[in-house]
Symmetry: C2
Subunit: 197 residues, 2 copies
């Protein structure tokens, strides 16, 4: 079995954009497989009493995050546009991501969604935007239907349960063996651990 790194991401999460855009290349460089795990942070935040993103609830933290993202994107040559509203509603995108995983195209689809959202400031709850991302990922349009199936809705709910079981409280998160790493800042450390297994 190939050594692997499990990547938990939420489409509304700014820092997940940073990881999504580099994790496949970084993992491949070390002979690792990435397991892409979409989930929704909303219910986890709600369970601890947060009604919105902590970046909205705590304004000084929010102001800092936008500047930090701007600096990091500039350093990495990534375009960065602040989407409005923030956070975006990532429910439809997350369901589609699960379908794209079944079709072995989750990495390109997730990157297309993040690029639309944070690279061009698009609304990722808009079906037309999602259809464009779907096509960018080389997926057949008729397969989008499956995202509305009861089975897919249940699968996304199950992702949330698994995320809580794994101790997740934010995104991006990485799991290697039993070790949890939180934040794009820990991606290199997670990869380093995976290479020793």
């Amino acid at each position: 079995m190939a050594r692997r790194i499990v990547f938990w991401f939420d489409f509304a999460s700014t820092y997940s954009y940073l990881s999504a855009m580099r994790i496949e290349e970084a993992a491949q460089r070390h002979g690792l497989t990435v397991v892409w795990e979409p989930f929704l942070l909303g219910p986890i935040f709600a369970a601890q009493g947060w009604t919105s993103s902590p970046f909205n609830l705590y304004p000084s933290k929010g102001r800092y995050m936008w500047r930090d993202m701007e600096r990091l994107c500039e350093m990495r040559g990534l375009p960065f546009v602040r989407p409005d509203p923030f956070p975006q509603n990532g429910l439809a995108a997350a369901r589609l991501a699960l379908v794209s995983r079944e079709l072995d195209r989750i990495a390109p689809f997730a990157r297309a969604v993040y690029s639309a959202e944070f690279g061009r400031g698009k609304d990722i709850s808009n079906p037309a935007v999602l259809a464009e991302c779907w096509e960018t990922a080389g997926l057949p349009l008729h397969a989008m239907e499956q995202a509305r199936a009861e089975e897919t809705k249940k699968a996304l709910f199950a992702q949330g349960e698994r995320a809580i079981q794994a101790g997740l409280f934010g995104a991006p998160s990485f799991v290697v063996s039993e070790e949890l790493f939180w934040g794009d800042d820990r991606l290199d450390q997670a990869i380093a651990l995976a290479t020793t297994l």
Copy 2:
């Protein structure tokens, strides 16, 4: 004027320990001066409705932080003992830090306090522990008195006001020119910016 990096730290903050133990060496390597700025996060947290450390209020985040600190300290060859209670009451230590700064010994004093607290699990509200740190930093015991002076109490309060003005919401934080950096993970980036000024 020497190029400088302003280092805001709270003695109760675990991640501030990581930065305190390396910032002088890292800054000197780049010809930078470190301005040590002690402050208390408590009032800032209280203003946003937190009655304790977020690591206590949000248990999954807390569990992660302890493991993350363990891993980082191991990587850096730093001893790490979880102090009980957490967070420690850092009021007396912060006042002493301001006095030690007047005597040009704040860096060794702050390192001694962090080492006692997180390297050996000592209670840094204990006057005997603080006296030991004071002596380790080569400071004269009689000068400790000054920490109880009204002037020192006011100076620490003023630090808190300045921290809020600077947009701080956590520790460690670094300010270079007008740019704010939060977290030990951003120390290298802050230093890199300072070297370009």
